[in-house]
């Protein structure tokens, strides 16, 4: 059975899709609307892999279509963005200022945590880009001497927890403007948070999508400056 599954091209897709649907169903059925369906989905996939003894590599290979589509899907974030270009032009200072504040506080926060907990240089580099989208963050981590897999895992956990806490954080910090909410979610919780932002509203989602790009680029610029501060 294991041999059959690890060789079956559709296995990874069927497993990913059904785990996601099941995660979404559980979330709605149990009225846990704050829960991101990605969390139960991932736990389910991991459980199935561990129980069947299927290697992670053959799962990744057969689910490759999903990972491939991340590229075109990112490109298409241009669509909601374009629809709100006027709003963004009018508030470009708020967008840039907010993203800059977020990126610097994230990098500074990681530096502080690394000093406090005595983190090694490689772990520090893996943690540094935790708030930017996986494709950018993993590249930054590798360049600064971190590990791709570790950085990817931290980025995804950040995205999931960011989505979970988004509603509460917006209330605690008195965020009422859709633009401010979207920027906050995208800057701290990248593409996974953006899905949550779209649930709040079209403007929140569009701005969150933009924040992925801006905070990604700002992190590319600033993370190397922070990288040398430990080790």
């Amino acid at each position: 059975m294991t041999d059959f599954l690890s060789g079956a091209p559709a296995f990874g897709l069927v497993l990913s899709l059904s785990a996601y649907l099941l995660g979404d169903f559980a979330r709605k059925r149990l009225k846990l609307l704050w829960l991101h369906p990605l969390l139960p989905a991932v736990l389910l996939v991991i459980a199935v892999l561990l129980l069947t003894g299927l290697p992670y590599e053959s799962y990744i290979e057969s689910a490759g279509l999903l990972s491939f589509l991340l590229g075109p899907a990112t490109v298409c974030l241009a669509i909601p963005l374009y629809k709100r270009l006027r709003l963004l032009r009018r508030n470009w200072k708020a967008v840039l200022g907010g993203a800059l504040a977020g990126v610097l506080s994230s990098l500074f926060g990681v530096l502080l945590l690394a000093k406090l907990t005595g983190l090694g240089a490689a772990e520090y580099a893996s943690l540094l880009p935790k708030s930017v989208t996986t494709a950018i963050g993993v590249g930054i981590a590798a360049e600064l001497g971190g590990q791709r897999a570790v950085s990817g895992a931290l980025i995804i956990l950040t995205g999931i927890f960011g989505s979970l806490s988004a509603g509460l954080v917006c209330r605690l910090f008195g965020l009422r403007e859709p633009l401010a909410k979207g920027l906050a979610i995208g800057t701290s919780a990248h593409a996974i948070g953006t899905a949550k932002a779209f649930e709040m509203g079209e403007t929140e989602g569009a701005v969150s999508g933009l924040a992925i790009v801006i905070s990604g680029v700002l992190t590319v610029i600033f993370a190397p400056l922070f990288a040398g501060l430990i080790g």
């Binding site: 892999l49 590229g71 075109p72 490109v75 298409c76 708020a94 200022g97 906050a184 790009v213 680029v217």
Partner: protein
């Protein structure tokens, strides 16, 4: 053939993004280059929204699902994560909401007061 055309255009921008990444090898994924190219094409009127809208919005709507395989990589990173758990835990659970709050607070303060439509810029 509508879907085929829309998909071809979107994948064309992906491909152009990959090409641009070859020319400008910053640690930025090809998708982000493609996003900027598509935004530019839409702004300049070279590309019209209806030419890509349906397929594009479908792709955006399934974005979180596309992360499932990457997220299962947690399995691979588990050993290292366990060894660095205090920093990882504080960073994910503490820093993430803090960064979110700071970003939104700063953005909201910098927004033009009188956010009514058609502002005076």
């Amino acid at each position: 053939m509508k879907w085929a055309l829309q998909a071809a255009i979107i994948l064309g921008f992906s491909l152009a993004g990959e090409f641009l990444r070859l020319l400008l090898p910053l640690p930025v994924p090809a998708g982000v280059y493609g996003l900027l190219l598509m935004l530019g094409a839409l702004s300049l009127g070279l590309l019209k929204l209806p030419q890509i809208e349906q397929t594009g919005e479908f792709l955006v709507s399934i974005l979180p699902l596309l992360f499932v395989p990457a997220a299962a990589g947690l399995l691979d990173a588990w050993g290292v994560l366990r060894a660095m758990w205090p920093a990882a835990l504080l960073a994910v659970l503490g820093l993430t909401p803090l960064v979110m709050g700071i970003t939104g607070w700063v953005a909201q303060r910098l927004m033009k007061s009188g956010e009514g439509e058609g502002g005076d810029d």
